[in-house]
């Protein structure tokens, strides 16, 4: 008799369980985690607003899979130790997908928990290269370019588009320039298609760089990748051109600057520089910013468009997957392109968005023109 009670009790409990899940199944839960308080709140709150606006828009149009989308917003204050609690809470609430976290450190702390629970996480702002490239977190996606994206673009462009075989890397010994140079070196060595013939740092503000120019010539480099800012770049390019060297010059966002054009003048012509993709003409971006103005009476904050795009990508993938299923959603994210405020995006095998981040520009007739 005792045993029967147990069975009945268990049955009752399980009925209760299904009954509890049943109404919840009416909505699709989207977890939003990030810094919503503390001194980095300004990085996290725009993401909440983006998710609210994007979800409102989608719910008006009938939701996803015929169900309304519901937001579960949790704060991690950008602290790794809080982020694990945040993740645990969202997991226990049964979210299938999470928009977040905001800071790389917090994301790193939480991502393993989500991975164990088979929950897809998409960050609008965590740029640490390891998050995607280590391959440890197949559940992680992001709609922002990682820290090494510029170096990757510069190297890929040199090797694949310009077909260069011998590359020189020059940097200005600063955090930004040297960081880029280190990544570029790694990518060139990994590619196996081009040889690194010179790797050097220069002293910013030196009188001239003629010795360096001679060195580039002797190394017979057919392309120079420069990590640093425009004052040194302008000087190096001008001195190369004055010495009749027409080696390709490929640089970064620090060089894609009007001052570079003014200082290097005619010698700037033909120089390549990577820079953030221009989204100011994207109609979805314009609409999203307009909706934000209308709802909150202010301009959107940091990572707003990235978060808006991430929300759209996640919900679109659920729709395409046809079910709330970890594997199917993951496959949909990698297969289907979706129009977002950042342009048409889908994700590569590592979880980085293809089509987000940097473009290559070239100086043509005294102005930077997007190359591809």
């Amino acid at each position: 008799m005792e045993r029967h009670y147990r069975i009945i009790f268990a049955a009752l409990l399980s009925i209760l369980l299904t009954v509890k899940i049943a109404p919840a199944a009416d909505t699709i839960k989207l977890g939003v985690a990030g810094a919503h308080s503390g001194d980095l709140a300004s990085y996290g709150l725009p993401t909440v607003k983006a998710a609210e606006l994007a979800v409102k828009e989608i719910n008006v149009r009938g939701g996803v899979l015929g169900r309304k989308v519901e937001l579960l917003v949790e704060d991690d204050a950008c602290k790794p130790e809080i982020a694990t609690n945040t993740a645990t809470k969202l997991i226990s609430q049964g979210v299938p997908v999470v928009l977040g976290h905001i800071c790389s450190g917090a994301t790193r702390a939480a991502i393993g928990l989500y991975n164990d629970a088979k929950i897809i996480v998409m960050s609008p702002s965590a740029t640490n290269p390891e998050l995607t490239q280590s391959g440890l977190y197949p559940n992680f996606y992001r709609t922002i370019a990682s820290d090494d994206a510029q170096a990757r673009l510069d190297v890929d462009f040199s090797i694949n588009a310009l077909k260069l075989k011998k590359l020189a890397i020059i940097h200005d010994k600063g955090d930004y320039g040297k960081g880029l140079a280190e990544h570029a070196r790694k990518f060139i060595e990994a590619s196996g298609k081009a040889k690194l013939v010179l790797y050097e740092g220069v002293t910013p503000g030196a009188l001239d760089y003629s010795a360096l120019v001679q060195k580039i010539r002797r190394a017979e480099a057919d392309g120079v990748i420069f990590g640093g800012y425009h004052p040194e770049a302008a000087l190096i390019v001008s001195q190369m051109r004055k010495k009749n060297m027409w080696t390709f010059f490929i640089s970064d966002d620090g060089v894609k600057d009007e001052t570079f054009l003014k200082v290097a003048g005619k010698y700037a012509e033909g120089v390549y520089a990577s820079g953030p993709r221009d989204v100011s003409k994207n109609s979805l971006a314009i609409a999203a910013v307009e909706a934000h103005r209308k709802a909150y009476g202010a301009e959107p904050g940091a990572f707003f468009l990235n978060a808006y795009a991430a929300t759209m990508a996640l919900l679109n993938a659920i729709e395409k997957a046809g079910a709330i299923d970890y594997i199917k959603i993951g496959r949909a994210l990698k297969t289907y392109s979706v129009d977002t405020p950042l342009g048409k995006i889908r994700f590569n095998d590592k979880g980085d968005a293809i089509g987000v981040g940097f473009s290559m520009y070239q100086v043509r007739k005294g102005a930077f023109v997007e190359v591809r």
Binding site: A206, S210, A211, L212, Q214, R217, P231
Partner: protein, 300 residues
């Protein structure tokens, strides 16, 4: 071998600019035993003046070498006026003071001028027009040396020859050498020491301004901060060659230029400055007075 000569010429160009500025340090030191830290700022002001004048002239439609010569003339006069007044304001009142006082005054003047230009002009890197015209027949040399480098080398060589004649054979030069050897004795013999000192500052400033124009049109941009870096290097060159000695300043400038160029070329440009200053230390250990400096040398 081409590589060697490329580095050699790069070092020579750089070194001759160092030498032009170092001359100002060494001449002033020779006469009043003061290290004029504001000297680098005079170089920067010369470059800025040339930029302003050439911009105005280009707007009125002038072109070519005329702009260069006019701009250089105005810049030299203006920078000399600065050198002259700086001496009168900051150093002359302290001539009898302990030696540390004018030194501090010089450092203060340097900081003042730098920040004055920063506020009055710009903190940006304004582009400097290429005033040195492209000479077609020099284009053939371009793998080895840029046409502007040829102009820089010829100009500095010419100026140094003139300076040597001025110091060796003119009346003013004689007075300068006398003052350098013994100021009190020169004064007793009727040399107007104050005027000699003013002349020295004017000549030194003119040389620095010329250096400023040459290097600014070579590199194509200027900044309020360029005087500091060039000043430190030129000062090093002056010490290297033996401060107070005119041939020493030239030699020191060239050696410094070559050291930097070859260190960057054969080792790594990361270590350019390391080698330059290591050389300075070694030479000062072996010869504390510098290469051409002598204990009680003829300082001019």
């Amino acid at each position: 071998m081409d590589y060697f000569w490329g580095l050699f010429i790069g070092g020579l160009t750089r070194g001759s600019i160092y030498a032009l500025i170092a001359l100002g340090y060494t001449m002033v030191y020779g006469i009043i035993e003061l290290i004029n830290f504001a000297h680098g700022e005079i170089y920067m002001i010369g470059a800025f003046t040339a930029l302003i004048v050439s911009t105005v002239l280009t707007m009125t439609g002038m072109t070519g070498p005329a702009v260069l010569i006019l701009a250089a003339l105005v810049a030299v006069i203006y920078a000399s006026a600065y050198g002259f007044t700086v001496e009168k304001i900051a150093y002359k009142p302290l001539r009898q003071a302990p030696r540390l006082s004018p030194l501090i005054s010089a450092v203060g003047m340097s900081i003042f001028l730098q920040n004055y230009v920063l506020l009055a002009q710009t903190s940006d890197f304004p582009p400097f027009p290429n005033l040195i015209p492209d000479i077609p027949f020099l284009e053939r040399l371009s793998p080895l040396m840029a046409p502007t480098e040829v102009v820089i080398l010829l100009t500095t060589a010419f100026i140094m020859i003139i300076l040597t004649f001025l110091v060796k054979f003119s009346r003013m030069g004689k007075a300068m050498r006398a003052t350098a050897q013994d100021r009190n004795m020169a004064m007793l013999l009727g040399v107007n020491v104050n005027r000699v000192i003013s002349h020295t500052f004017i000549i030194g400033s003119a040389l620095a301004a010329l250096g400023g124009i040459l290097i600014a049109s070579h590199v194509g941009r200027i900044n309020f901060y360029i005087g500091f870096i060039a000043g430190i290097k030129a000062f090093t060159a002056a010490v290297l060659g033996g401060i107070g000695s005119i041939p020493g300043a030239v030699l020191g400038g060239l050696i410094l230029g070559w050291t930097e160029s070859f260190a960057a070329g054969y080792v790594s440009s990361d270590y350019e400055d390391v080698f330059a200053f290591a050389l300075l230390i070694i030479i000062l250990i072996v010869k504390p007075a510098g290469i051409l400096g002598r204990e009680r040398a003829q300082k001019l």
